[in-house]
Structure formats: C-alpha cells, structure tokens
Symmetry: none
Subunit: 197 residues, 4 copies
Amino acid sequence: MLRPPQNIRAALLSSGKDQFLAYGFEKASLRTICKNAGLTTGAFYNHFSGKEDLFSSLVEPMIHGFRKMYQEVISQELADLTTGVENELTSITYAISHKDEFRLLFECSKGTKFEGFKEYLIQEVFYPSYQEVFDRYAGRHVDPALVQIILHMKFEEYMELIYGGYTMNEVKKLITQLTVFSEAGFHRLLEDINKEN
Amino acid sequence: MLRPPQNIRAALLSSGKDQFLAYGFEKASLRTICKNAGLTTGAFYNHFSGKEDLFSSLVEPMIHGFRKMYQEVISQELADLTTGVENELTSITYAISHKDEFRLLFECSKGTKFEGFKEYLIQEVFYPSYQEVFDRYAGRHVDPALVQIILHMKFEEYMELIYGGYTMNEVKKLITQLTVFSEAGFHRLLEDINKEN
Amino acid sequence: MLRPPQNIRAALLSSGKDQFLAYGFEKASLRTICKNAGLTTGAFYNHFSGKEDLFSSLVEPMIHGFRKMYQEVISQELADLTTGVENELTSITYAISHKDEFRLLFECSKGTKFEGFKEYLIQEVFYPSYQEVFDRYAGRHVDPALVQIILHMKFEEYMELIYGGYTMNEVKKLITQLTVFSEAGFHRLLEDINKEN
Amino acid sequence: MLRPPQNIRAALLSSGKDQFLAYGFEKASLRTICKNAGLTTGAFYNHFSGKEDLFSSLVEPMIHGFRKMYQEVISQELADLTTGVENELTSITYAISHKDEFRLLFECSKGTKFEGFKEYLIQEVFYPSYQEVFDRYAGRHVDPALVQIILHMKFEEYMELIYGGYTMNEVKKLITQLTVFSEAGFHRLLEDINKEN
DNA sequence: AATGAATGAGGGTTCATTCAT
DNA sequence: TATGAATGAACCCTCATTCAT
C-alpha cells in the first residue's frame, strides 16, 4: 500500500525470477510468486498482463541488450580478426552480469514463446558465421557436422564461464587459455583434413 | 485384457517414454500415458507404484548398463592410455543405442530423484579421472576450472554425437577428428601453461 | 481530464451500451466499458454508483418516454377505435428511434432489475387493454389463452418491424398490410367462435 | 458411491438443466451444478468433457429427434396440403414434451455453439418453405419482409403454445382457432396485394 | 474528479492418486 | 487385475468494487 509502485513491480520480477529459476515457467506457481511478493493474485494483473508477460519482462530487456552488444562485437570482428579474445570477453561479461536471465532463457522457458531460443541462437545467429570462418580458414567447405559439434562445445564453454562463478580476472585468464586450446585444435584439425585429400 | 502382462508393462513404458520426452516428467500426464497404452489410470497402479516409478523403470536399467560398461572402459583406459578413441566409440555406441533414455535422464527428469543426474555424472564419475589424466599429462596440478570447462565441452561433444542423428560411420569419423582437435588443443595448452611458470 | 463532465458521462453511456448489447449485462466487463470510454474503473464510480446504475441510466429515460407516449396513444385509441394504424405507427416510430435501448431492455437485461420487463410490459400494460378490446369486439369474454397468444404474436410483429432495419416508408406499408392480416384473421375467428355456441 | 453410474449422469444432466435454465450457459456455475448433483467438480470430468459437453448432452438428442420428426412432417405436408393442423400438432406435441430443452436452446445457449440456433432454424429451415408457400398461394413473389414478419409471428405462436402450460386438448383447440386466424388473415392479405397492382 | 493498486471470491479445468466394485 | 468414479487441491485468470493518494 505504501510501497511505491516501482517496488511492487520489482518485487514481482524478483519473486518471479526465483520461482521460474527454481521450477521452470510452467511449474512455477503464480500464487507463490505473488505471495512472496506480498500481494494477491488479483493484484498481480494490475502490473502484468499474465504469467508469460512477467516472464517476458524478465528476459526481453536482456535479449535486446545482448542483440545490441552482439552486433557491435560482430562488426568489430569482421573488421579486425585479431580482436577475438577481447570480444569474447565483452560477450561473456555481458552474459555474466545477466546470468539469471540467461538461465531463464535457456533452461526455464519451456511453455513460453522463448522455448526454442537456445537452439535458435546457435543455429541462426552463431552457426552461419561459424561455418563461414571455418570455411575461410580451411580454404574449403568444412563438414557442417564438425562445425556444429565444435560450435556446441564452444557454447558450452561459454555456459561454464558464465555459471562457474568465476571472478572477472579468472574468466579473462580462462578465456585466454581456452582460446589457445581451441585455436591449436582447430589448426591441427584443418591440417589433417587437408592432408586427407 | 487378454494381453500378457509383459505387453502391458511394455506398452506403459513405451507410452511413458513418449510423454516424458515430449513434456518432461512433471508436465507429462499420467492419464494420457495410460490412455495411449490402452488402459485406465487405476490399472496403471497394478504395474507401477506411481509416476516416478514408471520414470525410474525407463531409466534405471540404462544407468546400470552404462555403469557396467563404463567401468570396463575406464579400467582399460587406465591400463593402456592409447585406447582412447576406441573406448570413446564404445561409450558413444552404447549411448546412441539408448538415446531416448539418455535424453530422459538429462532433459526430462526435473521433478524426479534423477534431477541432478547430469551434474552428478560429470562431477562424480567423469571429473575425478579427468583431472587425474590432465595432471598426469601435465606433470603438475592443472587448474580445476580449466579441467571443468574442457570436461563440460567434451560432454557436450558427446551429446551432439549422440543426438546429431549420425550414422555409426559418421560418428567414427567425427570422433577421430574431434580427438585430433582435443588432443592438439590439450597439448598446446599444457605447453603454454608450463612456459608461464 | 479536460473533457467537460457531460462528455465523460456520455462516453460511458455509449461504451456501456456497446458492451451490454454485445455481451449482456452480466457478461459485459466494466473494465472494458471504462477502457473504451477512456477512463479508469475507479473514475467510473464518480459518475455512476455501479454497473447496474449505468444500465438503468441507459434504459430508464426511454422507459419514461415510452410510458408517456403510450398513455397518449391508448387514450386516443379508447376515444376513437379507428385510429389503429396511426397509433401503431407512433409507437413503432418511437421504438425504432430507441432501438438499442429496447434491445437492452428485452435481450440484455438479465441480472438487472429490468430482467422481467418484457413480460411485465406484455402482461401489465398491453394485456388488459387487449383483452378488453377483444371482449368488446366479440361481445363476449374471449378465451384469455387466445388473447395471450395473439398478443404475443403482435408483440413479435413489432419486434420485427423495429429490428428489421426497414425504412419508415417500408414500416408504414408493412403495418398497413399486417393490420389487414390481423383484422381479417380476428374477425373470422370471432365469427367462428360465435358460431360454435 | 453406491449410486449406479447412470444416476450420476442423470443427476448432472438434471442439475445442469436447472442451472442453465436459471442463469444461462455462461453464468451457470459448474461448481454449483456439481454440488447440487452431489459430487465434486473433479468428478464431473469423469462424466462429461466440460461445461459445453454437458450442455450439448442436454440439447442434442432433442435436436436430432426434432429433425427426424420434422422431416416426416414436411414430407407429409408436401404430399397432402390438407394435413396442416395435424402436422402442427405433431410438432407442438414434440416441442411441449421437450419444453426445457427448447428453452435451453433458444434462451440459454449464449456462449455455446448453439448460440444462433433460433435464427438458424427460422432462416434456414422454416423461411425457405414459408416463402415458397406464400408465393405459390399468391401466384406471385410476396414481399420477403412480409413473409419474415409473419413467420416470426408464427414462431412466437408456437412458443406460446409450448410455454403456456396448456393441456393437450387446449393446445388442439387453440391451434385450430389460430389456424383460422392465420389463414383468414393470409387470404385477405393476398387479395389486397393482388388488388393493388 | 481521477488514479490505479488491492481485494477476495469466483470462474472452468487438470492433476496424481485411491479404492469399492 | 481391471475399472472408472471420486477426491481435493491446485492451476491461471477475471470480476465489480473500494479507497488512499
């Protein structure tokens, strides 16, 4: 009653985040979300148009932010291919500071319109540029299956960096090391492939 | 009614697998599972003690089989470090032939006692030997964070091999290539690490 | 905010009419009525004391107007029995120009105090004079059941004239024809009845 | 518990009929219907698939019965034009013995797939043959507006016969009288129309 | 006058499980 | 073993109205 309206919205977002993370979108109980935020289910609908609206409100700002950031990163990457580590760091930093929202999006979104977001991101956003980079470096068309798998591994690397609970310094060091790992593996693989034929 | 009891159990297992894969453990409807298996919900309880029992029955035989197989593989591996690719192939082959059960375990088990199985497998089963192998190769204690991440990437590699829909021949070729990738990366990484200090 | 209060009231009445006509009194949503009128539900209560008050305000002025008009018509009718068609036309004209309000009253008033208005009108207002006219013409007491049915048919005739979407000229012509129909039927019926006994 | 299942279904149908008649389909409360039938709302869904299924089960058998009866009546009518009164009596008798279901269909079906049934019946089933009979008798095309209105009046006549609470003997007598009324009116009207031109 | 957050009860429906038959 | 009716709580959501601001 005496709380300013912003706090209510914030309380609902926070409570919703908790429940969605704990139970997933479908199993999370709106009643519980409301109770934890200190209001009735009826009151909820003065702030959000429904359960999915609450979920979207948690996740969409992050998606827009990520999109914006990613576009800058990718355009830099195309201009200067040596900026890899730095750009990765930018992306990871963003993701870490939106850790929860990423998890919502990737692991708790079943039943929402974001359900397939992870695969969408991998296939539509990352894969095309990945395949292109591989092809360019190899000087030939690289087996898409191989690219797919390595891309998924890369994605998993990011996941671990994001959710591993590392400090920024640790992340920086790990990325450097993992870049060494990936690039060495990558070059050796291409050599082998080219030898084959 | 006239079906031998085995068929009923099999029908329930099959119908349950379908629903659990499609909707996850919690959201899958026991009613639907029973209807698709051609019996009533009441009859179900003559064959299984409940929803989770059905799930366990789908997943536990595979776990035991996998455990048994993995122990043979790992003891071979420790005896002869050159058997890597072959052993991986054995594991993957097993996993591919139990694709559905793996997916149940890893992606559809929320709400059951198997909920944390994937992390359990990684941390309790794979990680110790992984860290040991890394340490042995490096001749020093490798940063566990690094091992964790690379292990997760490896695990993701397996996932893709299992779920990518590849033929056995494709899998064999991919494993060979990915082994080249991983090992080259791994060696280069260790070199770098050793240089550092 | 800057609108003169009359406009707000008018907007609410108009929006309410729309919703009541579309969904009936009970199913119409006050929220929607207010939203369409451009204000909040809270503000609504500064103009009307509640949902039913809004409904009454739509319907009562018409009822009073109709009562007044009908009294003039009926007193003329009793003075001069030949004015039939003209008087019918007066009534119908009034009804057509308050078409929506009539519909509200007859078809959308469930849940309000006007719920039984149609039957009230027929039984309390029309029936007594109808029975009297029949009795007078017949020179004897006509079976009330017969009068009831013919009265209801007459009422339905009016409904169709009102809601049929006819021009005034068409209405005039139709009334003339229908009067022929009714009166011929009526006289023949009375002849038969009198022959019986 | 001890009631045979038929009684439960019957109890739900009866309780549903009461509530639908009293409040209309949308406003009737399933909870109340169930309570009055002596079971919980959960149990309800073992007997009907939902609220509308209950409504349909009340109304559809009557519709099919009516359709069947009406087809016999109309084919007789076309074979022998003098059977009018008898056939009307057959129809009305059927309707009276399904009085409640007719009222459900005509007055309480808003929100169901039967919502427009009354107008459908009038326009699609009755109107075409009505217009044809008028045209045939008149020897020319009669103004559809006139036919519409008289048809609606006829329909209202039936409604009153059905809902007036008359005995079968009274109905028989009233139909005879009303047929005199209608036919006399009809013939006189046609004469007038033909004179006009 | 107007806002909009809050109430609290009610809506139809689904659920895993139980149990008399 | 099988049936299917019953339970009772939970689900998300909508409602007319109130009231502090």
